[in-house]
Amino acid sequence: MKDDVIVCRCEEVTLGEIKEAIEAGARTVTDVKRRTRAGMGLCQGKSCEIIVQRQLCKQLNLSSEEAHPARDRAPVRPISFGVLGDEYND
């Protein structure tokens, strides 16, 4: 895969930028996210996470669990402020 391939489509982050972030010290999917915004967009990493994880494993010789420790994440799908805030909106 070429370095100019866009890995995170929501935030338009390329493979080259992900490689650079790993070189600069990122070791997990979340580290890469903080450094590049990959995974911060609308789909919240549903598309790019696996590619970032694979790149981390390859570049740093990590297991997939090391590259992507499980994290709490909510909401699972986008939810409107209206629906979320309904109960306490008085």
Partner: protein, 396 residues
């Protein structure tokens, strides 16, 4: 074996900013961070550089000096971090808030700070999507923001160019003193020993743990906060927008009560809207003491969303794509500890900035430079007063 002039513990915005100023001053510095740079509190904040939420007097003066230092940093750092200066707006809900706000603005403008009251027409012309019943606002010109993680990487990037030795994914196992009780070295979890005469504890909410290694009780507690991330959308508000009641929530003012749902009171929820450089926005804020629990909770999320709709009803149709929580390093008098420690020569504390870490990072870096090198750092503050005000001694 290399000997460093200083070892900084903690690679959040505070430690990173200190590493920048110390290496600029020519010191040989190492920084130890247990994870990646900017992976703790710095990664779960909203990147504010404010004077608007400070009390008149020293609190504001300190923040304003720091705010000005961002201008200088902007010229010197290489890595882009979305520094924006759009100012901020505080929303006033009641006549009672209006009188308090008026008094506040009067005092701040008398001290030379750029703030003004906006009446009903002005505030609604400025922010057309506001709820109809908001009676006015305060506009603060100088408030700014950065993308906090990029700002921190930028500081580290420059410090590394200045010769900083970075130990990320390394934690401090112990701090070793010599026979005279002075700092001798720092022992890392991997077994490596770094020789130094100065240690700066910039570990934020984890600073007490580092303090224990030299038998110090550092009075910092984690105060959790949660933030909602909205999808990329049309412009809702032009700048940072906060409810005036936020300041009351922050300082826990006793003689003031907002008319809100008890759940919002329970979680210390106050409306904070932060447009980002990525064309979406963040919604805060909440305040809770729950030890080191940094999980988000559905109840707080509901409360944040409810409070957001109260001020911007049209947000109803916008999606929340993410929520996150972080731990503010809270000190009971709301001032950070930026201090030498009398009993442990060579040990410094630079932690406890609660929600002001980004904004106060530059002045903290400068003050640590002053404490360690003893030089004149050329800032418009009464240095002796500031050092006393932020000293570790003040708790004893």
């Amino acid at each position: 074996m290399i000997k460093y002039d200083a070892v900084i513990v903690g690679g959040g915005v505070i430690g990173s900013c200190i590493s920048y100023y110390l290496t600029e001053a020519g010191l040989k510095v190492a920084l130890v961070e247990k994870g990646d740079i900017a992976s703790g509190t710095t990664s779960s904040c909203d990147g504010n550089i404010l004077i608007s939420d400070k009390k008149p007097g020293f609190d504001t003066d300190l923040a304003a000096v720091s705010q000005n230092l961002f201008e200088e940093l902007d010229q010197k750092l290489d890595y882009e971090y979305d520094y924006t200066k759009k100012g901020s707006l505080y929303l006033i809900e009641s006549q009672e808030e209006w009188s308090v706000a008026e008094q506040f603005v009067k005092e701040q403008t008398a001290n030379g700070y750029a703030m003004r009251m906006l009446d009903y027409d002005q505030v609604h012309r400025d922010e057309p999507l506001l709820a109809d019943d908001i009676i006015g606002g305060i506009e603060i010109e100088t408030d700014a923001a950065v993308y906090p993680m990029a700002f921190t990487y930028s500081l580290i990037d420059k410090a590394c160019k200045n010769g900083l030795k970075l130990y990320n994914y390394n934690s401090v196992e112990d701090i070793i003193l010599d026979t005279k009780g002075q700092i001798e070295s720092v022992l890392l979890s991997g077994g490596e020993k770094i020789r130094t005469t100065n240690v700066i504890n910039a570990a934020g909410v984890w600073a007490p743990e580092i303090g224990q290694m030299v038998d110090l009780d550092i009075p910092i507690q984690p105060r959790q906060g949660q933030i909602l991330v909205a999808e990329r959308t049309r412009q809702v508000g032009k700048r940072k927008i906060v409810e005036f009641g936020y300041m009351m929530a922050k300082f826990g003012s006793k003689n003031y009560k907002r008319d809100i749902h008890p759940i919002l009171e329970k979680y210390g929820i106050a409306f904070v809207f932060e447009p980002t450089a990525a064309d979406n926005f963040l919604i805060g804020s909440s305040r809770q003491f729950v030890n080191f629990d940094n999980r988000i909770s559905i109840e707080v999320m509901k409360g944040l969303a409810a409070r957001a709709i109260r001020f911007f009803p049209s947000m109803k149709d916008i999606n929340v794509i993410r929520a996150y929580a972080g731990l503010r390093p809270y000190v009971n008098d709301h001032f950070p500890i930026v201090s030498a420690v009398e009993n442990v020569p060579g040990f410094y504390i630079a932690a406890g900035h609660e929600g002001d870490g980004i904004g106060l990072a530059p002045i903290t870096g400068k003050l640590v430079e002053h404490l360690i090198i003893g030089n004149d750092i050329n800032i418009p503050l009464d240095l002796d007063f500031a050092v006393q005000k932020l000293s570790f001694n003040r708790f004893f």
